[in-house]
């Protein structure tokens, strides 16, 4: 690592905390440290600020403040939604979800499947899209919950959460969506939808790590996950993480402001980056090009391995992610790319770039300047690349994939 410039394009992993957010949080550590539950004014003033933050988050989502529950992270929000749906409907033991969920939902459901619950994991097609008819057909009498992410963290593919919510509502089934990647990038007004519960995470939208939100629609049966005190109107016990809640509120306000920029300037940066990367031979984009987050691009460089690419990128100060086996922490490539049927030649060489409002044209130039050389160097070394080149030459009328 040169130690100079950092080109951060890994915002689906975590994002820079906005300076405005830090500034909003700071007084709540050493100065305004009161407990919002206290009877004295010192604590009561803090409670008012927590309520203001709740209103900011509600505003971003198009919800009422009473529908907002602060949690410790997106994963806690997802776990709460799933466990609440099961606990509040004891007779119903079936869950519908997808194969491409974030581990917060996927592993929770897999674990439930070993505890006597029945889980349907819906397939996706080659573009990463769901078949909504199959989803409707999967819903049964004993279905307690449908849990489908709003946008995929690896490919950025956006599912029609509002439409799925309608399908579920028509069948009288609760619908939860993990919207951790969608909030701040996809316009939403939850009051106009039938979504029962929604999870979001602060650190994906320029708040710090350690704060999440669960939206619980008015009238949704609810059983808390964390049991104890009466905080969060009895829906999430534990003393409020006040500085982080304040930060979450400030970040929500910023996200509402930046929503348009995400969908215009950031999208244009992503598109230019992607077009430039596709000029490298034997590359492809993973996921539906139209139904996609504006900031995310998952590009596969065939016949090379993702970790090697990431380390070379890292030495140029560029931060990205990969769905390769070596980086997934397991020995197999990303479950999302496998569910989509991305061939192994491409899955191991997939790189995810996820941009934010803090990225610039110069950042994109920098990546496009270094990427072709990195891929070429690794391909020179790859036994499959020389084989691929030979096949290509030996095949008359060969067309670039």
């Amino acid at each position: 690592m040169s130690g100079e410039r950092v080109i951060y394009m890994d915002n689906n992993a975590t994002s820079q905390v906005a300076p405005e957010v830090v500034a909003a949080m700071l007084p709540f550590f050493a100065e305004r440290y009161g407990n919002p539950s206290s009877m004295h004014n010192f604590g009561g003033q803090v409670a008012a600020k927590v309520d203001a933050a709740r209103a900011q988050v509600a505003e971003l989502l198009g919800a009422s403040p009473e529908e907002i529950v602060f949690t410790s992270c997106g994963t806690e929000s997802d776990n709460t939604a799933i466990s609440s749906a099961l606990a509040s409907q004891p007779g119903k033991r079936h869950i519908v979800t997808t194969r491409v969920e974030h581990p917060a939902v996927l592993n929770t459901c897999q674990s439930l499947a070993t505890q006597g619950y029945d889980v349907t994991f819906l397939k996706v097609d080659r573009q990463g899209n769901l078949d909504l008819e199959a989803l409707a057909e999967a819903i049964r009498e004993d279905t307690a919950l449908v849990s489908v992410m709003w946008a995929n963290n690896e490919t950025g593919v956006v599912f029609p959460a509002e439409e799925i919510a309608e399908i579920c509502a028509a069948k009288g089934v609760l619908f939860h969506t993990d919207a951790v990647q969608a909030v701040g990038k996809v316009p939403m007004n939850l009051s106009n939808t039938a979504i029962s519960m929604l999870a979001l995470s602060g650190h994906k939208l320029h708040a710090p790590k350690g704060i999440g939100v669960l939206y619980v629609r008015k009238g949704t049966p609810f059983v808390p996950f964390m049991k104890g005190g009466h905080q969060e109107h009895g829906r999430r016990a534990g003393t409020e993480n006040v500085p982080y809640i304040i930060g979450m509120g400030a970040a929500a306000q910023l996200a509402a402001q930046y929503l348009e920029e995400e969908n215009t300037r950031v999208r244009a940066l992503r598109d230019r980056l992607e077009a430039g990367l596709l000029e490298v031979e034997a590359t492809m984009v993973n996921g539906d090009l139209e139904r996609r987050l504006p900031n995310t691009s998952s590009v596969s460089f065939e016949y090379v391995e993702g970790e090697s690419i990431l380390l070379h990128l890292s030495s140029q100060g560029i931060c990205a992610s990969s769905g390769s086996a070596c980086t997934s922490g397991s020995l197999e490539p990303s479950h999302v790319l496998r569910a989509m049927g991305v061939p192994f030649t491409a899955a191991h060489g997939s790189i995810r770039f996820s941009l934010s409002i803090y990225n610039t044209d110069e950042d994109v130039d920098h990546v496009l300047e270094h990427m072709p050389g990195i891929i070429e160097q690794l391909r020179t070394m790859s036994p499959f690349w020389s084989k691929y080149q030979q096949t290509k030459c030996a095949t008359p009328g060969y067309v670039e994939p």
Partner: protein, 283 residues
């Protein structure tokens, strides 16, 4: 992020001996695109019988590339007898160590070298020719697991996964890996008492040959297959052609079918006659 030593980083960013040796004497290819890493090793012998040049092509992560490059540096100047003794540990040590989850990269280097030496000697590449495939996801045999366990003093399934990937896919073979480890460590030292039949090199009468084939299948082959839920039946013996039929799980399992014929054949050649050919017939 992995903790790589400076030497791993150096051999990753500036690998030496990349490419293919022209007119190589030995070529070893291991791994696959599906597995996420693969290595092609080529070497050429000098007039003194020592490895004069060695080059590699690798698809894989930083530690796979560094291990491959390290391997080529290590083997240059070695005789084949010396090279044969090189283990994955030597490669890892040369690099100042590898993260434990990445030890399989060094094992891939050792396997490529073994395969290249076998190729030079006109033999089948190692992993496909011997042993029973235990891990179907990554095609790892019991012999590979046993060898890596002994070389590196491995006692847990997790360690075996780190070194060979076996058990790291669907996880169905975890119990079998544990059984192999139990066998290796609880009954060690267990020199496999193979007393080659005295009659082996003598010309056999047809009756003797049939009897010996039956005995060998019973003793050497059937238990291994049964452990895997399968079985084998001797259908006919036509000269040196041994016709067998696979039963149960073996017959429907594509991964083991490819290696099974070779496994049965190698056992029959070892105990009966070098000229035998095994053919599978459908029941």
């Amino acid at each position: 992020m992995w903790e790589y030593t400076d030497k791993v980083k150096k051999y990753f960013t500036e690998p030496v001996n990349v490419g293919e040796v022209e007119n190589p004497d030995g070529v070893g290819e291991v791994g696959s695109l599906a597995c996420g890493d693969a290595l092609k090793l080529t070497f050429k012998l000098g007039e003194d019988g020592k490895i004069a040049d060695a080059k590699f092509q690798t698809f894989g992560c930083a530690s796979a590339i560094a291990s491959s490059s390290a391997l080529t540096e290590l083997v240059k100047g070695m005789t084949l007898e010396e090279a044969e003794k090189l283990t994955n540990k030597d490669i890892a040590d040369f690099l100042g160590g590898l993260p434990k989850e990445k030890m399989h990269c060094s094992v891939m280097g050792e396997e490529a070298l073994q395969a290249a030496i076998r190729n030079y000697r006109g033999l089948e590449p190692l992993p496909q020719a011997e042993g029973e495939v235990v891990c179907q996801c990554f095609g790892v045999t019991d012999q590979e697991i046993e060898k890596v366990a002994r070389t590196n003093d491995l006692h847990s399934v997790e360690e075996i996964t780190n070194y060979t990937k076996a058990g790291g896919g669907c996880g169905e073979c975890v119990d079998k890996i544990q059984a192999i480890l139990d066998r290796v460590w609880e009954t060690t030292p267990k020199p496999v008492e193979v007393t080659p039949p005295a009659a082996k090199k003598k010309p056999l009468t047809n009756i003797q040959k049939m009897k010996l084939i039956e005995e060998t299948l019973e003793r050497e082959v059937r238990p291994a297959l049964k452990a895997d839920g399968g079985d084998i039946e001797l259908i006919d013996i036509d000269g040196d052609n041994v016709l067998v039929s696979l039963r149960g799980r073996c017959s429907s399992c594509a991964a083991s079918a490819a290696t099974l014929g070779q496994f049965v054949q190698s056992k029959l050649r070892e105990f009966v006659s070098d000229d035998l050919k095994v053919q599978e017939v459908k029941p």
